[in-house]
Amino acid sequence: MDRNEMIEHQKEIRNFSIVAHIDHGKSTIADRILEMTDTVSQREMQDQILDDMDLERERGITIKLNAVQLHYHAKDGKTYVFHLIDTPGHVDFSYEVSRSLAACEGAILVVDAAQGVEAQTLANAYLAVDNDLEIIPVINKIDLPSADPDRVKEEIEEMIGIDASDAVLASAKEGIGIPELLEKIVHEVPAPSGDVNAPFKALIFDSVYDNYRGVVLSIRVIDGFVKVGDTIELMNNQKRFEVTEVGVMSPKAVQTATLSAGDVGYLTASIKSVKDTRVGDTITLADRPAEKALPGYRKITPMVYSGMYPVDNAKFNDLREALEKLQLNDAALEFEPETSKALGFGFRCGFLGLLHMDVVQERLEREFNLDLIMTAPAVDYHIILTDDTKKVIDNPAEMPEATSIKEIQEPYVKAQIMVPNDYVGPVMELSQRKRGEFVTMDYLDKYRVNIIYDIPLSEIIYDFFDDLKSNTKGYASLDYEIEGYRASDLVKMDILINGEVVDALSSIVHKDFAFERGKEIVSALKTTIPRQQFEIPIQAAIGNKIIARSNIKAYRKNVLAKCYGGDITRKRKLLEKQKAGKKRMKSVGSVEIPQEAFMSILRTDETESHKN
């Protein structure tokens, strides 16, 4: 392709994402677009083809990004090149969403015809607006009996503020509205505006490790072009690599000679670690660099830390290998070895947020067949000692003696909560309860309010998001960024089981809440630790002072007194189940503690609400 051809090619490119609230049909719309552009043959078609990790399919969430090239023969007789860029759908990954939107000119906003506009619809629509994207509203599932497209149109106009009068009425399941949508993409999403003759400049919006090719970068070329043999430079860390392959995903990798302005594709350059290739970074050419990097680059740092321990101590090395393998693909995951008196050898791991933590845990258990104990998540605390030195801890067990502490500082975030105005009261009440400090509040329109609070990060990771959702019927959306450290009146609370401190259950709590939290944790442990053959006292303590206590009574009977006739298999299965359950428990002293108990520090509210 010469430069003139590249310029012509650029006019036919349409780059877009699909954004939606969970379950509104994003993946089904993507599937239909792929089918109708013949990108995937019917035979290859598998529902929700873009989500290729098992876990994604099962949880119905998108974790890694994908970009697919499709060819669409439009009614005007021309063939257009579409790049469909998939986005993850959770607040933990909002930075990645915003970077993938930055690679597009348009966004298809999918809204369920029955459910209407919901929290993630708002949050994602606003991310699209922030990135100056052309938004094409699609009202999906119009075949449902409860569909009310007119009401949903009104909601889109009033709550998001975009014209929805000719929103596409679709049913992705039935294939209705998809031809119309494809035409709209051609006519409403602008062609990319970059300059083929300018120095090469591209945005990294995803990176994946491949065993054979090293890191595979997903990139959007802004200006210029790149080909095999070029030396690229990553503008953030100045590292240089020689390009070994460029191409597009359609949806399998297809090599091309070049990627030029407007293109979305992949690039490999024998890069060994995804750590070098942070999402959001700008790539240029070493011998003719672009002047300025693209805006918006953020180094991703873990916000939440948790200890991960193999239930079977002999699996320590397996866990290390598994974490190393996951890290190749997950630049946000950090880990270092640590030891716990109760749990033995394990790793302190850093995550973006709780979902990220859950996903890593599940992948370790599923893909690497490891049984893990995770300790309650914690944040980084700054401890100022009496000699004015500073110590940073991310594990309550490392807390120095109370007498040597002058001050404890904890990270605060600026939390931006967007809600319909009916819920302002509950949101403010919740934020106050979580030690939040009110900053400001403004009306975005007649219905929606943007509330800003400074809140300790530890409260956010504890249960703020869940509480926020339940107090606002799921309408609130939350975005937060680290604001800095502030001194707080914090203490370390220990948990004693059968008279022994279990270091993995220690937590750092605010003094005013310590008593209440102690009671909650003790009662949560009482429900999660199964009754055993002896009575087990459970206590919460600050220093030497016991602030809450309870006993787990000894159980009296565990034997099957039922006649299964000759069905021995059934007896065996029951015993095997019991044994498997025991494998997921950790013996601390003589007490068997199940996996969930170590998380009960986090999930006390849930157990409380079950009781009510």
Partner: protein
Amino acid sequence: MAAAYIHIPFCDFICYYCDFNKVFIEGQPVDEYIDLLLREIKMTMAHYRQEPIDTIYIGGGTPSSISPQQLEHLLSGIQKYLPVKSGGEFTIECNPNNLLDTTRLEVMRTYGVNRLSIGVQSFNDAVLKKIGRKHSAQDALTAIHNAHKVGFENISIDLIFRLPGQDTADFKQTLAQAIALDLPHYATYSLILERKTIFYNLQRQGRLHLPSEDAEADMYELAINEFSKHGLNQYEISNFAKPGKESKHNLMYWHNEHYFGFGAGAYGYLDRDRYHNNGPIQQYMAPLRKHKLPVFEHHLVPFSEQVEEEMFLGLRTNKGVSKQHFQDKYGYTIDEIYGDTVKNLIQRHLLVDVNGHICLTHDSRFFGNNVFAEFLLDDET
């Protein structure tokens, strides 16, 4: 030594706790079922002509729910194709409401049945109603009276504890009434919630209120004490008998021996093969109509599982597992296979060695499952 279990999957009422393979009898092809069941027995036994049958157990379902004519057809067929050797044990399960006259009892007696297992469950009418039984406490007494009249002496009754609406005092009353009958054998089971039962669904809706775990333990302990006071020795987790009146068929299971399984969903264990038949009645009958056996699944029991089963079944009996017998049967000592497991359990007072028999202690009988699970071998080792 050989044994046979025969399954009759029909019931004239469905109990709220039952998840065995059974259907409501009305409109069911009972006659054809019996014909094909006898065909299954005949076909199977053609391969085992020399095998004398020591024990037969007809269970269900409710074997007594079929008509006296059907019962006669069934039992005469069994007599023909599966004769019990003299001195053998031949048990049939009955519900009290089918024994309110002596018709069926006489048929049973005629064809060699010599032991009855009667589903009494409770002597409290309110409790019986709550668990879906369609007979009264008085019906149970009448049934036992009739059985005695026809000449049955070897009678066992089943009692269930931890039932909704039951408390320790009530169960104690039921035990007293049961023991007053002076029967040679009693079995008592704790209610276990199983999927696909009415109770399971009630439980999920929060509408089932069962006695606590502690109450369950109290009732179990009470049963053990009351029976033993009256000369009824516990010989297995759930079974109590006067000396010499232990059920040979039940002991055969706990001794991990071989048995034929006949009928829909029945389990059998022959050589190394644990097999079971198709459960649904039509699926059971279809292959038999074509003279094929209705086996749903075979499982060749590997050595490791045989050993595990020897232990977790044998430990259910009060006599426990004989170390010598184990070695004779498997060619290894228990310790050669389980290392220090037995020693450790003895140290923790969960097992005891009585004259070369490893058995549960009185206390550890309550925690049998914990001990049994220790005898499952790890996959990796």
